[in-house]
Assembly symmetry: C2
Homo-oligomer: 408 residues x 2
């Protein structure tokens, strides 16, 4: 293949522990293909619109830089939560984007993100097609929530799941250390607004919770208190994993029942917090069990010192393939991972029409949610187990992991 | 030296990531000295009073078990929060303890814990002296809070500090990923009721916070809001580390100002929670900065996958020395670490009269708290840096760290 111009890549949305592995993969693919200028968007499309553009060959001078990049949490290029408006009536924004691309001779445009990002890639490739533009637009999947369709799973999920399984194992060991002498309940609150993949990951790793509540199932507070009471009769410590996004039967978020504030973010999503603390108060008051809550918060998406090697390598491959396919002329597609076999774990990669991906949210299948909506089945374990395996060791210096930072 | 009977060791209070390294050290010392029966208290003195006694030679069959023990979070033997009553008027409890010791021919009694545990060792050795008993009682220091006196620092602190420095570095990278496009504040709430050692550890590691609030200094909400406003004029993300135990000038806990509940634990300590969330609401309302809080909670004391090798080795040595000294006839003392040189880091160990240790709380020195009580000085960095260095690698299998568990 012969490349015709320069490449740019952007990172968008909430970071994952392996988003920079996808950046590394795309960079290496561009280098291998002989792309002259390899650009990064400083703060995603929002920065791009202000021509905040980074010369990646200057930031990643050698393979040591690339190795360190893969061990760096958050979005190395900076991220954004900017959503492109729809084409109709907003042609000026699109014209601006293409004008900047032409100015820098950018022929290949990669965007690494979740649902909203894939929607943007779709609109840009649609606009290019409608206006006879030749630039190629490719999507690289990224989300800890694992809610993108078509692909078996999303880069970012495996490492967040590994963090959750690892940390849950530790906090459960801690919480149960007083044994029969202290009755208690521990509620672990896990990310995942609408899809319960991450909360289900609490079932991996060993010290399993007694109850797991996903947002896919209506939450019944009365039943919850009764179940905890019953478990507490037989065990001194009750462990509960709960998604931040669980809802009552009437559709309202459980966290909104308490003192929790309800705010909307730039995309109109309701901002959630505090469901764990709310349920802990409920148990203390109504189940007679001393309860406390731990929120894994953003640590679960940025703990680059506990990264799944499988996930990091898949993220790298996804970035590499997106670039390679763009150079081959592919546009308006997202990289997807297919799992040919789960044991032994064998995968293949391809790309898929982004129109089928954008704005479709994939949830945990009903048949994997068992025990009246309070646990996940072995099918989930078989699905997720290979994704958390292997370790990408951090580079420690002065007692802490080292990270790559932008030169400016 | 010739040992005269059996040994027992107990673990007490909140666990640390290296409490089991002290257990490993004491076990190895007893093996080396030819102690026949090496016992563990199942759930500390509380379990001991019910004769919940573990045969450690059965649990730790070979060096692989000991290695895994050192990588196991929480208290392997189980812990307790049981405080022994004072001798006067409670002789029956003491008689019971000595009766059980005689039944099992226990001549050496080691207890691994913080202030309350050292107080217990003191009372038991006092009782033995008063009643002409020959058993030896030794204390092994353990606390993430680092508030025991005489010793330069406490085993457990270094690993918790390493976790805080590592995770803070990651969450700050995450929180700042939107750069100038999103003004925000992040409050990280760190353990430490009365002593700010752990909160000060936020200054280690790289992505330093802008403000650090220790419980040693009165907290002034108005000044806090003004400082954040000022920093927010120059930086898009303001990072604040705050101790769970900060108090207003009138001595009331800041967390009690909000919706936070105030409960007392078995020792009469006030249970704290939610100061981070409370301050985040304050900033959102009064500083016009969108703020959120992360609480490191118990993860900071049980994250055995991020352990300081320095700390783990010191914990092991402290356990080893406590046993060795007991076999030599020492009683009523606690192991203390002396730092001969901080760079290069050189230490020596000895034991110290436990009467000088018990119930004395060591705080961060005034002169190390700078910027009107909003930061820590380089003296603190020099003090704490060597304690977080080196890594005791976890043993991963199936994607998660492996731990040793009791056989029963």
């Amino acid at each position: 293949m012969s490349v015709k111009g320069n490449m740019i890549i952007g990172q968008s949305g909430g970071p994952t522990a392996v988003i920079n592995s996808s950046l590394a993969g795309a960079f290496e693919a561009a280098k291998a293909a002989g792309v002259k200028k390899i650009y990064g968007m400083h703060y995603g499309i929002e920065g791009f619109l202000n021509e905040n553009i980074i010369d990646l060959r200057k930031e990643l001078k050698d393979s040591a830089d690339v190795s360190l990049l893969r061990r760096t949490p958050s979005a190395f290029l900076g991220s954004c939560r900017y959503k492109l408006p729809k084409i109709e009536g907003n042609e000026d924004v699109y014209e601006k984007i293409f004008k900047i691309m032409e100015k820098y001779d950018i022929q290949y445009f990669l965007y690494n993100g979740g649902n909203d990002s894939m929607d943007m890639v779709k609109m840009l490739s649609d606009y290019a097609e409608q206006h006879g533009k030749t630039q190629k637009f490719m999507g690289i999947p990224k989300t800890i929530d694992n809610d993108l369709p078509i692909t078996d799973h999303c880069p970012g999920f495996g490492s967040a799941a590994k963090y959750i399984a690892t940390t849950l194992k530790e906090v459960v060991a801690d919480a149960t250390c007083y044994g029969p002498y202290r009755k208690s309940a521990l509620i672990v609150e896990i990310m995942g607004r609408h899809a319960g993949w991450l909360t289900a990951a609490a079932a991996l790793g060993g010290n399993k919770p007694d109850l797991i509540y996903l947002p896919e199932v209506s939450f019944d507070p009365k039943d919850f208190v009764e179940r905890v009471k019953k478990i507490a009769e037989e065990k001194s410590s009750v462990i509960i994993a709960v998604s931040e996004g669980i809802k009552l039967a009437d559709g309202t978020f459980v966290c909104e029942q308490g003192a929790g504030e309800s705010k909307k973010d730039a995309f109109g999503h309701t901002q959630l917090s505090g469901v764990g603390a709310y349920l802990a108060s409920m148990l203390s008051a109504e189940a007679g069990v001393k309860a406390r809550a731990i929120e894994f918060s953003t640590i679960q998406r940025c703990a680059s010192h506990v990264v799944s090697k499988t996930d990091a390598d898949e993220a790298y491959n996804a970035g590499y393939l997106a670039a390679k396919k763009a150079f081959e002329g592919c546009t308006g597609e997202m990289v997807v991972i297919k799992v040919e076999s789960r044991a032994p774990y064998v995968t293949s990669y391809s790309t898929f029409d982004i129109h089928e991906v954008a704005n479709v949210e994939r949830k945990v299948p009903d048949e994997w949610i068992i025990n009246d909506g309070t646990y996940v089945s072995d099918e989930f374990i078989e699905y997720a187990q290979p994704l958390i395996e292997g370790e990408l060791d951090a580079y420690y210096s002065n007692g802490v992991p080292q990270h790559l930072t932008l030169s400016e």
